[in-house]
């Protein structure tokens, strides 16, 4: 067993007592110590807490207690999820040093499954971005090429998987922040159905779009983690009170004969890199070989999804981020005993928020202001209806829909950081899923011929039919693995100091 193995292999080795949870956590901390100075996936390492957790799992196993399937397997947690007593910054100076007094529901579930939380991963500030360059604590670097971005906002989580610093990670996805980082790092990321995983303790950016989900190196590993974190939570009023689909069984089934798979016409063409399109098409050919029926579907309103998203998400963000007012937690600037509360609040928000966060708060404040509300926020909400209708019509004909996850492979750090619109285009294929609240997965489908960098393949499933994306994803992954002869991450150049 090595740290390059998949989480399910690690879980089996732990169950067979070939390795202890403490040893496994230590091996990952050694890898982090040797590579993270270059990758910068982590903002904080909770070595003491993780090793105590691992020790507990080992003790229970030695006593013959029945443990959950992933007990003892390490995980990297996106720094937007609260973990009691552990710094949670959301990549922002606003929350630097804040230690939440409570666990998010996702963390509660991870802990009770015996999953060992190694530390908190880097992200674009308050999850706003597609490159992790908007982190107040510096960018994360893509393990495939350290001069490139690892995607965003969850670039720390995706990079930690690709750099073998952790076999599992948690991400959150508002417009693609799990899927696009997975795409550009050659890893797997899943945005579950909205309401499928509790948002309690997920620091809100855009409440009607935010959703936490699993990140891993294989479809099965993502399914195992999905099973742990999903389910109804009375602490989240938007949590769906239904049984979680059996995503693990779906990931293992490997049989998609007769399934109807829709290729979305609008998520291709202009703006999509040549190598992205060719790898996508080769993967579609694999699905045909596996016996699936491919149907071209048209979703004409997807053309307006990006514009609607950049009104809805900033509007909700301007409201959600009002809580960072310097009164009850987080940063406070200029409190000299003379200045009043409002002035302190103004100065704190100037110093605590970065450029992109301010841009979105101002945009959202504008879209919601009287006189502009109908033209901007109101119109965007109507587009949301039209996108949902496009999905509904497409799912009448198809079991799942597919597209490339992102229009390009990983771009260079700094390449788009001064052009917000160019940056926003990275999410063009992932945003429709969030607008409709359905499920979306990204898995690797090859390396683009122009730059030898990973390409992401997106699978979209109807709400609460998350098992379908695992079914198709698992079958496609197996077919591609046998075609390549080894996992895609084995094609990546070795990082200096890596095991």
């Amino acid at each position: 067993m090595s740290i390059r193995d998949n989480a399910s292999v690690m879980a089996a080795a732990l169950a067979n007592k070939e390795i202890s949870a403490v040893e496994l956590a230590n091996q990952h901390y050694e890898q982090i110590a040797s590579v993270d100075k270059n990758v910068h996936a982590f903002l904080y390492l909770d070595k003491e807490g993780a090793l105590a957790q691992a020790k507990e799992v080992d003790k229970k196993r030695a006593a013959g207690e029945k443990l959950s399937p992933l007990a003892g397997v390490p995980l990297a947690l996106k720094d937007v999820m609260t973990q009691k007593g552990v710094p949670t910054t959301c990549g922002s100076k606003m929350l630097e040093g804040w230690r939440p007094p409570y666990d998010s529901t996702v963390v509660t579930k991870l802990k009770s499954a015996g999953i060992v939380i190694l530390g908190k991963t880097n992200m674009d500030e308050f999850a706003m971005g597609s490159s992790t360059e908007n982190s107040a604590f510096g960018p994360t670097h893509n393990p495939w090429d350290l001069t490139r971005i690892p995607g965003g906002s969850g670039g720390g989580s995706s990079a930690s998987l690709a750099a073998y610093e952790a076999p599992l990670a948690i991400g959150t996805d508002t417009g693609g922040s799990i899927r696009q980082p997975a795409a550009v790092t050659g890893t797997v990321g899943v945005k579950p159905t909205y309401g499928g995983v509790s948002r309690y303790g997920l620091v809100a950016f855009s409440s009607s779009l935010d959703q936490a989900g699993p990140c891993a190196r294989t479809v099965l590993d993502a399914a195992l983690l999905h099973q742990v974190i999903a389910g109804f939570d009375p602490k989240d009023s938007t949590s769906i009170n239904q049984a979680v689909p059996d995503v693990v069984a779906a990931a293992k089934k490997l049989d998609i004969k007769g399934m109807k798979i829709g290729v979305v016409k609008q998520l291709a063409g202009d703006g999509y890199q040549k190598g992205v399109e060719s790898k996508f098409n080769e993967a579609v050919a694999e699905l045909v070989k596996l016996g699936a029926e491919i149907i071209e579907v048209s979703c004409p309103n997807f053309e307006y999804a990006l514009a609607a998203y950049y009104l809805i998400a900033p509007s909700e963000c301007s409201s959600n981020l009002a809580r960072f007012d310097s009164m009850r937690f987080g940063l406070r600037i200029g409190d000299d005993g003379v200045k009043g509360a409002e002035e302190v609040m103004n100065l704190t928000r100037q110093a605590g928020f970065g450029r992109e966060v301010k841009r979105r708060i101002i945009l959202g404040t504008y879209a919601l202001s009287s006189g502009y509300y109908d033209a901007y926020y109101g119109s965007a909400q109507k587009v949301r209806t039209l996108i949902k209708r496009d999905f509904d019509a497409a799912f009448e004909k198809c079991d799942v829909l597919i597209s490339p996850t992102a229009p390009t492979t990983a771009f260079k750090i700094g390449e788009k950081s001064n052009d917000p619109l160019a940056m926003y285009l990275n999410d063009i294929a992932t945003i429709p899923v969030n607008m409709a609240g359905i499920g979306g997965m990204s898995l690797p489908c090859g390396l683009a011929e122009e730059d030898n960098l990973p390409v992401g393949f997106q699978i979209m499933s109807p709400a609460m039919k998350d098992d379908r994306m695992y079914l198709v994803g698992g079958a496609l992954e197996a077919a591609l693995l046998s075609k390549w002869g080894k996992p895609i991450l084995d094609f990546a150049p070795k990082l200096a100091g890596s095991k």
Binding site: E342, N346, I362, K388
Partner: protein, 98 residues
């Protein structure tokens, strides 16, 4: 004509309670103009006959029985406060302003 003026951006910053320098305002006004130009296209398809969707789920009010459950202690609640006194959040003066 620009979709949004520098003065309007300054007013939005005031409403959003964010102090901005002149340089920040100049830069943001230009960016906002470009972004608004791009997102305004939602109006092309947002006809009067299309209902608005505010949320992916049919959101209903959720209620529960009024029973006491464990909650944070005062010390935990105040643990992240910039300043506190006598089990209360201590904030800058709110009266005495205009």
């Amino acid at each position: 004509m620009a979709a949004i003026s520098r003065d309007e951006v300054a007013n939005l910053a005031r409403l959003a309670r964010i102090t901005m320098s002149d340089a920040e305002l100049d830069h943001l006004a230009g960016e906002m103009d470009v972004i608004l130009g791009a997102v305004a296209r939602v109006q092309e398809v947002a006809g009067a006959d299309v209902p608005a969707t505010s949320h992916p789920l049919a959101v209903n009010n959720v209620s529960r029985e009024d029973v006491v459950t464990p909650s944070l202690t005062p010390a935990e609640t105040l643990s992240g406060a910039p300043a506190s006194e006598d089990q209360r959040f201590k904030v800058p003066q709110i009266l005495g302003e205009e």
